[in-house]
């Protein structure tokens, strides 16, 4: 694994549920960048992410995570990656401390490394005072923040987030955005999907737009603007997705 190896490389990725959900997708995300994957509802974003994280077996194509072929060495590929779906992966009957103990155990993090990280994450995300409550009583935002803490406890090189800001209040959204920026500044890679285009506009270094399971445009915001002669990302997005629809 070298610094030139992309964080994620997808080649000819395909998945069909009766009709194609992802249709021969080729995508490369470089290390140390924040990549926003955009697309209208049903474009295949979540299906793509679920195949990347090993939750869904592709019908065709290859997934390479940090230079490791997911099909050949799933454990190796998953070790450097974390996934945060739109519906947080939590246990209602566990407390945040116990949840972090469990996730750290799954990723095989040593106690002496896991404990300071867990304390720091709970503190950073304002969850310390709720650390002894069962998560079933948490608000949507608190659940999302705890799931994010779980995703970060093993300090993944590649962080994949599906709609991470859905249902968060302004303060929580700001905390999550700061955390993502900080992760990228620390050398990590972030791939996120979002319907909040301002987030992609402000945070993403590169943006990919998919429609009907295919990548229809990719580049920096400036490149996409130049290509479409549109002003904001919203204009770019609508121009590209509606343009393809016609």
């Amino acid at each position: 694994m070298t610094g030139d190896t992309p964080a994620l490389r997808l080649s000819g990725l395909a998945k069909s549920f009766g009709r194609p959900a992802v249709d021969g997708l080729d995508l490369t995300v470089r290390r140390g960048e924040l990549y926003a994957l955009l697309g209208p509802n049903g474009a295949g974003k979540t299906t793509t992410l679920r195949m990347v994280t090993g939750l869904l077996a592709p019908d065709a194509g290859h997934v390479e995570v940090l230079g490791i072929d997911l099909a050949r060495d799933p454990a190796g590929a998953k070790r450097g990656m974390a996934y945060l779906p739109d519906d947080p992966l939590l246990y209602g009957k566990l407390k945040p401390t116990e949840y972090l103990e469990f996730v750290a155990g799954l990723w095989g993090i040593r106690a002496q490394d896991a404990e300071p990280r867990a304390r720091r994450l709970l503190d950073w995300l304002d969850l310390t005072k709720h650390a002894h409550e069962l998560t079933e009583g948490f608000s949507r935002g608190m659940k999302q923040k705890l799931a994010l803490a779980g995703a970060l406890i093993h300090e993944p090189q590649l962080l994949i987030l599906d709609e991470p800001l859905t249902g968060l209040d302004a303060a929580a959204a700001r905390q999550v955005k700061d955390l993502l920026v900080s992760h990228v500044e620390g050398g990590g890679t972030v791939i996120l999907t979002t319907h909040i285009l301002e987030v992609a506009e402000r945070l993403a270094q590169r943006i990919g737009i998919i429609r009907q399971g295919r990548l229809i445009a990719e580049g920096t915001l400036a490149e996409l603007r130049e290509r479409t002669q549109a002003g904001s990302l919203e204009d770019v997005f609508l121009h590209l997705t509606e343009g393809h629809a016609q």
């Binding site: 994280t53 974390a82 992966l89 939590l90 009957k93 799954l106 896991a114 310390t128 009583g137």
Partner: protein, 516 residues
């Protein structure tokens, strides 16, 4: 058409929800696939069973109708049956009250509306009583209907008596739940009410077992004869049998039952509706425990993945009151067996069968919770964890509690009757491992909240589990009989039963679900 907001209007709403709930219970397709009503198959099956019950009732009553069976005598067994049903009803209403209070459903919407809380509470109480009475009306109603054919219209009093009993138990269940909230607080009530409900359901069993275990002559005939011929103090004229007479349509007892139920309903609904709302408010925050200062954070990261998974599974089981209640109910049935062992009646083949059956059943339940009802399967799939380690740890988490539970009685048994003890240990271990593997191989993902309905969700798994329990339980019986009585036919029967048990396991292996 009733006025919006009135009690009949709310009752119609409740009935509609119950009808859709029946669709969900009839099959997950109904619940998840957007189908809101029970399917035609479910309705036809229900009607067929109801008609069959009428036929059975007709045949039985025709036999009874010829003989001299005075209603005064008949009232005694009917009253006893109703008393037994009342304990089951109390168990059921306690669970319904906990569900009403903690799972809330549409209560937040109703209580935020300008409807009086008294109406909302009254309708919910009526709903609990009606849903409790329904299965008894369904099963016993055909006997009352057929009795009319034989010229006993009074037997229709069964509907009233059962309804009154259900209402009394609904009021008792609600009052008990509210009292628990007041004394213990909402969080502890959830667990305690489930435990009380489980024990109430097994009350008659426990009482009969206590009676059997404490008396030394096993003949109850003299007492029964004394009861029937009136020389006992609880003879046919005793007020104790009034519920039985109400079932047979005696006007006085029937009116008494009605008045009692109406009074209980009016008093419960009228006096406790505010406390019900207060209880709901408490229940809403019951998931939260007292916040601790930041410095009190305590972590216990474990070095082994196996331990991490087992501890997590046990924590989730221990914190789920529904599951605890279900498991406790099974444990309640173990108590008489333990007493038998301690009293030295350890040689009975029934003991081998009983211990094996119960351990198998308990493992099946825990296995479903641990293996099939995983709350965050995607988290486990996304983790760099070997699937085998994960499955092994989960199997161990399901199998260890039943094995630990019977370890002490088995050691006791082995010390006092070594061959019997070792044979029972063998069948218990075999049953536990097989039950866990069956759930692992053919179990389907489900929600923990669907624990009670898991049999309907996955009929195949349920049948294999049942057959497995019966085979290993039977083997336990046969092997102990072989060791203690030495009859030769038990050799062949044991070998056949063991082969059947292994065959079921093989079948489960062949039918296993393909992993991702």
């Amino acid at each position: 058409m009733s006025a919006p907001g009135s009690i009949p209007w709310l009752l119609a709403h409740e009935l509609r929800l119950a009808w859709y709930g029946a669709a969900v219970n009839a099959g997950r397709k109904g619940g998840k696939g957007g189908k809101r009503r029970p399917g035609i198959v479910g309705i036809v099956l229900g009607i067929a069973v109801y008609v069959a019950l009428h036929a059975i009732a007709f045949a039985l009553l025709r036999k009874l109708d010829g003989g001299p069976l005075p209603e005064a005598v008949l009232a005694m067994p009917l009253a006893i049956v109703l008393a037994v049903c009342a304990t089951f009803m109390l168990s059921s209403t306690l669970k319904s009250c906990v569900v009403a209070m903690f799972e809330r459903g549409d209560l937040d919407l109703l209580l935020s509306s300008p409807l009086p809380s008294r109406s909302i509470f009254a309708v919910r109480l009526l709903g609990i009583a009606a849903s409790t009475a329904l299965p008894y009306w369904f099963l016993a109603g055909p006997f009352a209907n057929m009795a009319v054919v034989f010229g006993h219209p009074g037997w229709l009093g069964l509907y009233v008596a059962v309804g009154a009993c259900a209402m009394l138990m609904a009021c008792a269940g609600m009052l008990l739940t509210l009292a628990l909230v007041r004394v213990l607080g909402a969080r502890r009530t959830r667990v305690m009410a489930q435990v009380v409900g489980a024990i109430a359901g097994a009350l008659i069993f426990l009482l009969t077992q206590a009676y059997n275990l404490t008396r030394h002559d096993n003949d109850a005939t003299p007492m029964l004869l004394a009861l029937l011929n009136g020389s006992h103090r609880f003879g046919p004229d005793s007020a104790l049998w009034l519920p039985g007479r109400a079932i047979l349509g005696a006007p006085g007892p029937l009116l008494g039952a009605l008045v009692l139920a109406a009074l209980a309903f009016a008093l419960t609904a009228g006096r406790t509706h505010r406390f019900f709302v207060h209880g709901l408010q408490q229940a809403a925050g019951s998931a939260r425990v007292q916040a601790r200062p930041a410095g009190a954070l305590r972590f216990r990261f474990r070095a082994s993945l196996f331990d991490t998974i087992v501890v997590k599974e046990w924590r989730l089981i221990a914190r789920d009151p529904h599951l605890i209640a279900q498991v406790l109910l099974q444990l309640v049935y173990l108590v008489p067996l333990f007493v038998l062992i301690m009293r030295g009646n350890a040689a009975g083949p029934a003991l081998g069968a009983g211990l094996t059956l119960l351990c198998s059943s308990l493992t099946g339940s825990l296995g479903w919770i641990v293996l099939s009802a995983e709350d965050a399967p995607d988290l486990l799939l996304a983790a760099p964890v070997p699937r085998r380690t994960l499955q092994l740890a989960k199997l161990a988490a399901a199998a260890m509690p039943p094995l630990l539970l019977v370890a002490l009685p088995l050691v006791w048994l082995t010390v006092h009757a070594p061959v019997t003890g070792l044979l029972v240990a063998f069948t218990v271990t075999g049953a536990v491992l097989s039950a866990g593997l069956i759930v692992l191989w053919v179990g389907r993902p489900g929600l923990r909240s669907d624990f009670k309905a898991r049999g309907k969700e996955n009929f195949l798994c349920n049948m294999l589990e049942l057959a497995n329990s019966l085979c290993w339980g039977g083997l336990g019986w046969l092997l102990v009989a072989l060791a203690t009585q030495g009859e030769t036919w038990t050799w062949k029967a044991s070998a056949g039963t063991l082969a059947a048990a292994l065959g079921i396991l093989l079948l489960a292996r062949l039918l296993r679900r393909r992993p991702l």
